[in-house]
């Protein structure tokens, strides 16, 4: 007798509960962002974004039901097919997509507007899980590294053609999953060092200080490497490379068009261009910062309500929460996210198959990346890139794609015992 696919008691209700909590809070904030005291409309009014979001939430629940009743094997078996389909769509998007804000990133089907790049995320996650699930797949081998990176970089290249730098950047999140699956640590050390050096190069105006700090670090390393002259020489060599990198970075940044330079420099000083590039982050910080400890109260925010913050219902939705619920509200919201992420790590680790675990980590990676970058940009810790806050931001593509992404994993998790019983 074939076991029933949907075992309600095996669904991880903690994650499901967190999901609905976040979606609900997000929905309230979308209403707050469009709320107009003088022309108050009901939160259910379909003419405003909160009403429309309700439609997206309703259809997302439909998607959840479909995923939960579907055969879990489907996701495993169709993973590469889905990936192929979405890569094809991505390939076609620049030719047949609708141009919005200079990007051809959207498909228009009737009244709906969908962003294929959003959905490619879960397809890429499935494809990665599929490619990497074999017991002999070993990320310490260059050949396997190339396979995984190939799966990741194909959509990146296609999305960059749209061009949508923000969404393309999201795909680098998969490196978190790759780390868990055994990608050599030295890649991360080098990567993070490069990031650190980059930030230092941009933040420190005077190159003398920068080279001084590099010199000191290298001297310490040389002093610690008494044992071998070879090591000492290689450290000095490393220092030279760092200096050359810093110099060439400075050179490249100076050659960038001014608006792109500003976009970077605004991180270190939002007053570089307060009415231009700096406007978003300046206004966003004002909105959040003015919330204080307890916030101004629901629907009492002035900065978001009166449109001082652009894109406040989509990418800058966190401003509404920060302004109206203050630090305490931000704390609760971040706590919910962190709980969900840690729960997902826990769920991923308890998977019996490598496929499910890799997919679980892909979910963790994407959510963590979105969550971190989105909030970091609203408070001026990261350049403004147009990526939504999962479950919160207004918009069907975003909500649907994150719902699908998450619930495929919940589905896989709820069937983990059966999956164990099968052999691929």
């Amino acid at each position: 007798m074939r076991q029933k696919d949907t075992n309600l008691h095996k669904i991880d209700w903690v994650t499901v509960g967190l999901y609905f909590a976040l979606v609900f809070i997000g929905w309230l904030n979308i209403y707050a962002a469009v709320y107009d005291e003088q022309n108050a409309t009901s939160i259910f009014d379909f003419s405003i974004n909160s009403g429309k979001q309700l439609v997206w939430i309703g259809t997302a629940i439909l998607l959840i039901i479909i995923i939960m009743v579907a055969d879990y094997r489907l996701f495993h078996n169709l993973s590469l097919v889905l990936y192929a389909i979405f890569v094809l769509i991505l390939f076609l998007t620049p030719f047949i997509g609708k141009e919005i804000n200079g990007q051809r990133a959207w498909f228009e089907i009737g009244a709906f507007r969908l962003q294929p790049a959003e959905f490619t995320k879960f397809a890429t996650a499935l494809a990665l899980a599929k490619v990497m699930e074999g017991p002999s797949f070993d990320l310490s081998k260059l050949k396997d590294q190339m396979k995984a990176l190939g799966v990741i970089f194909l959509p990146i290249v296609l999305i960059l053609l749209q061009p949508d730098t923000g969404t393309a950047m999201v795909y680098s999140a998969f490196f978190i999953m790759l780390y868990r699956e055994g990608m050599p640590q030295r890649y991360y050390v080098i990567g993070l060092s490069l990031v650190g050096l980059t930030i230092l190069t941009l933040a420190i105006e005077n190159n003398l200080y920068l080279f001084g700090s590099i010199g000191v670090v290298i001297l310490i390393l040389v002093a610690m490497s008494k044992k071998s002259w070879q090591n000492a020489i290689s450290f000095v060599f490393l220092g030279c490379i760092m200096a050359v990198y810093a110099l060439s970075l400075d050179y490249v940044v100076e050659k960038l068009p001014e608006h792109q330079q500003n976009r970077i420099m605004v991180l270190f000083d939002p007053d570089v261009d307060p009415l231009g590039v700096g406007w978003n982050v300046t206004q966003s910080k004002i909105a959040i910062g003015s919330g204080g400890l307890l916030g101004k109260g629901y629907l009492e925010g002035t900065q978001t309500k009166f449109d001082f913050v652009p894109e406040q219902h989509t990418d800058f939705i966190f401003c509404t929460l920060g302004e109206e619920f203050g630090w305490v509200g931000s704390f609760v919201m971040i706590a919910l996210f962190v709980t969900m992420l840690l729960r997902l790590v826990f769920l991923a680790e308890r998977q019996k198959t490598r496929f499910s675990r890799i997919y679980g980590y892909c979910v963790v990676s994407l959510l963590l990346f979105h969550f971190t970058i989105n909030i970091a940009m609203t408070i001026g810790l990261f350049p403004v890139v147009g990526i939504p806050l999962p479950f919160f931001s207004y918009g069907g593509s975003s909500l649907w794609s994150f719902t699908i992404l998450l619930f495929i994993f919940i589905k896989l998790d709820s069937n983990r015992i059966q999956i164990l019983g099968r052999s691929y």
């Binding site: 009166f306 449109d307 001082f308």
Partner: protein, 600 residues
């Protein structure tokens, strides 16, 4: 494999959360500058400017009122021009001016209104009103400017203008902000606190485009504006207008005071200007023209110009002599022209005759007795003691110090004491022969026309005066005028000494100013001719009338008009007639004064 790395991932998640919460704590809880910035963003402080108080004359005729003007405001975001030339034509502006102001507007704010063209007059606005609809992002804000229906009394009413940087920094009450209008001179400046009213403030919520989104905190913090208080001036507009007419083409001053109250009836500075030119959009341009005018129309002569008083000062000398007991009505001196020049008249003269004939040698001799009372055997010391005593007595006539009129810029003039001559000649190196010019109101002695008129007040009142002032009541309440204007000030000369003086002044007219004599009204007056080494002498005349119940005391000072009897006395006489009878029935005299053109 690699299960340990799940811990690293979990820790990374925690660290990220801590960094975000830490940064949030910094900007939300520890730094309150964002709250202030948010308020600046969304809470618009709309100042409600009150109407400035009106100014009336003593009979209720309007001197100053508020006229609406229009500021054309622009919201750069919404504004675009297809035909710049047409727009410039329509509003009568230069293209460069438009570009400059629009750039300023953009620099100020992309979304908030900024004045593109300031202070368009009612008439000009009517011309463009219908075309405004063709332009997006423009709207009109109504303000008011001062307006002067009779174009009169510019020198006392003063003008208003944007507050200056130094005025702003001196404003300890922090009432004013950049761009506010304040009184810069005249009554506008002196009574600024009464006239300005009280600004009201409304706090409005606005969105990013500056569109109103309702009241902040339901308007609990809003305050209403209070209109400025009205002033009733002591000026008699008809007399002022008549005096200004008589002074056309002349350089000089007229001051007329009601003796019993110190209320200034007329105070004229010639040449003057139309106060309406210092209002509205052309203020700056017109101000420069006036300021560079060699005739100095902005110079308020009655209170700022100082002259030697000349012969009118002989009355003060007489009174001091009488009060000191040095002179009696019978004191007689010969008209010895070897001492100082004089004109032909019977000699010797007693005091009465000396005033009537304005005898110079009489005062040369009488003043010597006042100064050299032989308190000291040393002539030099004796002169010094005598001069200082005399100076103290003269100062009591409201000379040497500012009288304290209620407009700014008043000069005090000067009556010399021994210290001045010590400075010039050295201590003990001057005596009466050095200073004898003072006896006839010449020499190192300066008074303002206002002080001259005040001397006439003292002669009319037989010994006292009130500080001359320009305000009768504030908001119809006479008790609110400054208390110092109600304090009697004593000249130090007893009333009994004035009878002879007044009679002599009545007689003086038939000696030196026959044109000033009127059939029905007894005028007491004294001419003066202040010597002017630079050209024609200045013509001075002080008078009061009627002699037995003085209702008007007057001083007329006409520069370069020659002998006092000619221009000044005739002008004063006409003004007295005008004030006391309401009309002038001496057309020949009127014509004579009007024809006189003494500006060279």
């Amino acid at each position: 494999m690699y299960t340990g790395r799940s811990l690293v991932v979990a820790i990374t998640i925690g660290v990220i959360a801590l960094i975000l919460l830490g940064k949030l704590f910094l900007i939300q809880v520890t730094d309150d500058s964002y709250l202030r910035k948010a308020e600046r963003n969304a809470i618009q402080r709309v100042v409600d400017h009150p109407y400035r108080g009106l100014v009336y004359d003593r009979n209720g005729a309007l001197l100053v009122f508020n006229d609406p003007v229009f500021d054309l405001m622009v919201i750069p975001k919404d504004f675009s021009l297809k035909d710049t030339a047409r727009f410039c034509n329509l509003f009568d502006i230069e293209k460069d001016y438009l570009i400059e102001n629009f750039t300023a507007a953009k620099n100020y704010s992309w979304v908030k209104p900024y004045p593109l063209i300031k202070q368009i007059s009612k008439e000009d606005f009517a011309k463009v009103q219908d075309f405004l609809i063709d332009y997006k992002g423009l709207f009109v804000m109504t303000r008011s400017v001062r307006s002067y229906p009779r174009s009169s009394a510019a020198n006392i009413l003063g003008y208003i203008g944007e507050i200056s940087g130094s005025q702003l920094s001196r404003d300890s009450s922090r009432y004013y902000v950049q761009g506010d209008y304040v009184g810069h001179s005249g009554l506008e400046a002196y009574y600024e606190p009464e006239l300005r009213g009280k600004k009201g403030v409304k706090y409005k919520l606005v969105n990013v485009r500056g569109i109103e989104k309702g009241a902040f905190k339901n308007g609990d913090l809003d305050t209403l504006s209070m209109p400025g208080e009205n002033l009733q001036s002591t000026i008699d507009l008809n007399l002022q207008l008549y005096g200004e007419q008589l002074m056309q083409g002349k350089r000089g001053s007229i001051v007329a005071i009601e003796p019993k109250t110190g209320e200034i009836l007329t105070i004229i500075s010639a040449p003057t200007y139309d106060p309406n030119v210092l209002t509205g959009a052309k203020f700056g341009q017109n101000y420069t023209v006036l300021n560079n005018d060699p005739e100095k129309p902005l110079f308020n002569r009655p209170i700022m110009a100082t002259y030697p008083p000349g012969s009118i000062f002989k009355i003060v000398q007489s009174l001091i002599g009488l009060q000191e007991g040095i002179l009696t009505p019978n004191s007689t001196f010969p008209c010895n022209k070897s001492l100082v020049n004089c004109h032909n008249h019977p000699t010797p003269v007693n005091l009465f005759g000396a005033i009537r004939n304005s005898c110079n040698p009489y005062y040369h001799q009488a003043f010597r007795q006042v100064i050299n009372q032989e308190v000291s055997t040393n002539t030099y010391t004796d002169t010094q003691i005598g001069l200082d005593k005399w100076q103290k007595a003269v100062v009591k006539f409201g000379l040497n110090n500012r009288l304290g009129v209620d407009i700014n810029g008043e000069k005090g003039g000067s009556i010399p004491s021994s210290s001045l001559y010590d400075k010039i000649y050295g201590k003990g190196r001057w005596k009466y022969s050095t200073i004898y010019s003072l006896s006839i109101g010449q020499g190192e002695m300066l008074v303002t026309p206002l002080q001259m008129a005040n001397l006439a007040v003292i002669f009319a009142n037989k010994g006292y005066f009130y500080t001359p002032h320009l305000i009768k009541s504030i908001n119809d309440d006479p008790s609110r005028i400054p208390a110092r204007f109600k304090e009697k000030r004593d000249s130090g000369v007893e009333a009994k000494h004035f009878d002879l003086i007044q009679d002599a002044m009545v007689q003086a007219l038939s000696g030196t100013a026959t044109r000033a004599i009127m059939k029905d009204i007894e005028i007491a007056g004294k001419t003066g001719t202040a010597q002017n080494p630079a050209g024609e002498d200045h013509s001075v005349f002080i008078a009061f009338a009627p002699k037995d119940d003085p209702k008007i005391a007057i001083a007329v000072y006409v520069e370069n008009a020659g002998w006092g009897g000619r221009a000044a006395a005739s002008t004063a006489s006409l003004l007295i007639e005008k004030y006391l009878t309401g009309e002038v029935k001496r057309p020949e005299l009127e014509e004579y004064v009007l024809k006189g053109d003494f500006i060279y």
